[in-house]
Amino acid sequence: MTDLEDFRATVRDWCRAHVPAGWRAAQTGVADDEFVAFQQAWFQELRGAGYAVPHWPAAWGGGLPVPEQAVLYQELAAHDAPRLVLAFVAIHHAASTLLGAGTDEQRRRHLPAILDGEIWCQGFSEPEAGSDLAALRTTARRSGDGYVVNGQKLWASWALHADWCLLLARTDAEAPKRAGISYFLLDMRTPGLDVRPIRQATGDSHFCEMFLDDVTIPALNLVGEENAGWRVAQETLGAERGMTMLELAERLAHGFRWLVAASPLDDPVVQDRLAGFECELAGLRAVCRNFVERADAGRAGPADASIVKLHYSELLQRMTGFGAEVAGMDGQSVLAKPASSGWESGAWVLDFIGSWEWTIPGGTSEIQRTIIGERGLGLPREPAAAS
C-alpha cells in the first residue's frame, strides 16, 4: 500500500469508530444550544485525531499535505460525518487572517483558543455595502489606546454564538474608499454590541445583523497596518477560498451519489443530466486540488478563488435543483434538514433554496465573473469602477 492508501485506511477506521450513529435524525429540528453543543463535541473528536485543522501549518496543529487533505475530506463525506459548520469561519477565515497578517501575540492568543472551541464570525457586509464592499460606512475612530466603532453589519453567520468577529471598519473617511479601511478582531462580549438574527429564505436564522454603538476595540486587535484592511482581507482570504472548496467539492461529490440513488435511472434523460453533473464535478474537484497545491506553493492565480467559488456554487444550485425535480412531491414534504449536514443533505428542496447562500454571499456570482474577467483575463474595468 502507498502512504496515501495507508492514510485512507486509517481515516476510514477512525470514521467507523467515531462518526456518531443516527446523528442526522437526532440533529433534525434541534434547538440552537443543542446544535452548538453537538458541533463543539464533534470538533474536539476531530481535533483529537488531528483532523480538525489539517490545512493549518504543522507548528499550529495542522500540516497535512494536500493529497492527504483531499482523502480526509473524501472519507469524512463518504462516512456521512457531520460538517464543522460552526467552526468554519474560525478555522478558515480567522486562521488565515491571523497566519497571514496577524502579530505573533494575536496568533498565540487565538489559534490555540480556536482549537479549544473559540467561535468566530465575520463582520464585513453592511446594508449599503454588499457587492460594493469597499463602500462600507462603519467607522472606527482612534481614541487613546484603541478605537471606538459605530455602525451596522449584516450577514454575520452564527454571530449570536460567536466569541470573536473579523471586522472591517473605516478609519479614514477622506482616503479613496479602499485605502481607508482597517481590519480588526472584535471581542463579541464588548459593551455596545447588539446582535439580532435574520430569518433566511430556508426559515433558518443563522445569519445575524450587528449594531455597533460606541464599541471599543483595543489597538492590539488591529490586524496589519491602519488603513491596510482591504489589502489584508484580499490577501488572507483569497487563498483560503481554495482550502474551503477542497472540502466542499468532496462533499458535493459524495452528495452526487445520493442524487444518483434518488433518481429514476431508467430514464435516459435523467441519466444524461446526472452524467453531465458528474463530468463537472470531476473537473471541479481536480481544479480545487490543483489550486490548493498552487496556493501552498505560493503560486495562486489571481482568479483561482473566484473560479472555484463561482463554479461550485452554481453547480450546487443546479444539482440540488435537479434533486428537487426528481424527488417529486415527497421531496416537497421534507420540511427540515439535519443541522450539521452539508449543503447537499438530501432534503433536496431545502438544499435548493439554501444554495442561494452560496451564489450570493462571499461575493455574488456576478461579482465573481467580474473578478475573473478583470483579474484572470485582464479585461478593462468599467469606467465608473475605475476611479
Binding site: R24, A261, L379, E382
Partner: protein, 334 residues
Amino acid sequence: MSPDELHDELRSVARQVLGKADPDLAQLAALGWLGLEVPAGLDGAGASLAETAVVLEEMGRAATAGPYFATAVLGAGTLGMLVPTPERDDLLRRVANGDCRLSVSLDGESGFVADAAQADRLLVVARDPGGDPFVLSMTAGDAEPRPVLDATRDFARVTVTNVGERWRFTGDPEAAVQRLRDRAAVALACDSLGLSEAMLEATVAYAGVRKQFGRPIGSFQAVKHACADMLVQVTLGRELVRAAVEALVADDPDASVAASMAKAYVCGAAVDIAGKAMQLHGGVGYTWESGVHVYLKRATLNRTWFGSPAEHRRRIAARYPAMAQLSDRSVSFP
C-alpha cells in the same frame, strides 16, 4: 529535464512551428512528433500519450490540418497495440521516419475515415467469424472522398476490396479496440481544449481593443462575464483532459470513464466557447476572413467525431445502477 520542463519545451516549439504553417509528413517526422509513441528501438522516442497530448492541444490551438491525427494518434496507436511482427515493426519505423502516411478505420467499412484518400496504408479493424476484432493492413485502395464543412479535416469512405495482411491485437482484442476509441476521444478533447484556449484569447484581445459607446466592449459586464464563463470552462476542461491522459498512460481501470468525461465535457464546451467567440466578435466574427468559423466548424466536428457528448454521457451513466445500490441511504436518512 523534468517531464514538466520537457512538455513546456515541446509546447513552445509546437506553438512556434504551428503558428506559421501546417507541417507536412516530412516536417512532422523531422520534428520527431510522428515517432513520439514509437519505441526507441524502432526510430521513435518511446514517449507516451502525455507528450502526444501536448502536440494535439497545440494543433487545436492553431487549427492545424494534416496527417498527424490519422498517422500518429490513430495509426501508431493502433500498431502499438498489435502483436509485434517484422512487418508491423517495419511499418512503425516507417511511420516514425515520415515514410508512410496511415489511415485507420476502427469500424470496418466506414463512411468517414480520416485521411483514407491520402494514406499510403490503411488499417481496418474488422471482426473474424467468431466476432473477435483484428486488424486488416492494406495498401490504400478505393476511398471515396467525403468533403466536410471543417476544411482542416479530410475524410473518405472506405470499402474493403483487397485482402491485406491480418494482424492480431496483444491481449484482449475488445479491450484493445476500446482503448483505441478512448485514445481517439481524448485526442479530440486535447484538440478541443487547444482551440477553446485560442478562441478565448482571441476574444479577450478583441474585447480589449474594440470600442463601442466610447469604451472597450470588454468593460461591459455582458461581454466580460461571458469571457469569465469561457475561462471557467477551459479551466475545468484542462483538468478533465489531464486526468484522462494520465489515466490512459497509467492504463488505469477507470481510464475509459475518464476519457468519456473529457470528451463529453471539453468537446461540448468547445462549441459553446467558439460560438461565444463568434458572437462577441460581432459582425467581424461572422465574416469568412476573421477565421472564427474555422474554429467553430472544427469544434463542431470534434464534438461529433468518436461519439457525441450524449453518447459518452450514456457510457458514464452505465455505472449508476451499481452506484445507486452502494449509496442507498434509506436506512440512515430519515
